[in-house]
Subunit: 202 residues, 2 copies
């Protein structure tokens, strides 16, 4: 059995969104299972001394253009949301809770896509628990159960553990893929990842 | 007539080196002329608040791995030189002087490749005028003429003008390509550039 593709992403990362729309087809091409790992980059940036790309002069303007260009290239719907970036703690908790408690990987990935598209295609306020609960309900997830989970200390602890785990594995950006111990940072490494899996590394 | 590909690069940029080994084939595929623009990113980083990638914790370690992986992918000889980064002012001046005074674009690009390979494949000290002059001599360039040029105020002024021009055009990294007004930053955008030129944009 080959190892799963470990896909780390932050819900306010535009390149994470783009990669989230491309990674399943890639995993399928290589017969690899895919594991989704929501992270909160804000916690990790404190360690690396980084800032969100769009905050930098010049680079930020370029990135806005590059993101929209890549979305057009891959036919991914996109509009830069307001506010940007946004608080993704509740969104990450919602996914971690679902993964932990619902044992329905298909519904988990549907929830991830729905949150990402809600933010980057439909400009929904994914920092809001009410909005997240509505998005989840559209995926067939119980509103009351998620509402309760978002305030649950055990769910908060899940995010803490997931963050520590990501840091320990050297994850420092979004999207970030680990497969067979090899790290790939950025949606612009998916072609290299594709080639890597096809050739079994080099 | 279609516009030339404007290729901006810093001699201490590993991704600039990788792109320098790939850009000519790309330009040729699309029947585009290629214009080489040496820059000194240190001057530009002061404006953008950036640092060399390898200076960042975690990202730096990843980049070392990614650079070597990309070189193996494209069969480009590489060893991380010491010191790294290095001072590229003299190297940039040598190229600008040659481009300005020698009217031999083929020899200019040979000089660029020889300096880049000298640094990233053969660990030569390209901050040293003597080393640069030796490298240039191997390309058939007159030693005395280059030696004189490196201390010439008019050549220093060429670099100042080139830097100002790059900043004015929004160049903030290496490699950086401008073509038909469209910016592409990073050797990992060469596939997108290829696609862009093939499709005439999108």
């Amino acid at each position: 059995m080959s190892n799963p593709i470990q896909f780390y992403f932050d819900f306010t990362s535009p390149y994470g969104y783009i990669a989230s729309e491309r990674i399943e087809a890639l995993a399928e091409r290589h017969g690899r299972e895919l594991q989704w790992h929501p992270i909160v980059l804000g916690f990790i940036f404190k360690l690396t001394g980084s800032q969100p790309l769009l905050n930098y002069p010049l680079k930020g303007e370029y990135a806005r253009r590059d993101i929209q260009r890549a979305c057009r290239q891959y036919d991914i719907p996109f509009q830069l949301p307001e506010p940007f970036p946004t608080n993704v703690i509740a969104a990450a908790r919602a996914v971690l809770w679902h993964q932990q408690s619902q044992a329905d990987a298909h519904q988990s990935s549907a929830l991830i896509h729905a949150i990402y598209r809600g933010y980057f295609a439909d400009n929904r306020d994914i920092a809001s628990a009410d909005v997240l609960i509505d998005i989840a309900a559209d995926c067939g997830i119980d509103k009351a159960a998620l509402g309760q989970a978002l305030g649950d200390d055990r769910v908060k602890a899940l995010l803490k553990t997931a963050t520590d785990d990501a840091i320990e594995k050297g994850v420092f950006g979004s999207p970030f893929v680990l497969v067979d111990g090899e790290p790939f940072w950025g949606q612009d490494r998916l072609e290299m990842l594709d080639d890597w899996l096809a050739r079994g590394g080099w």
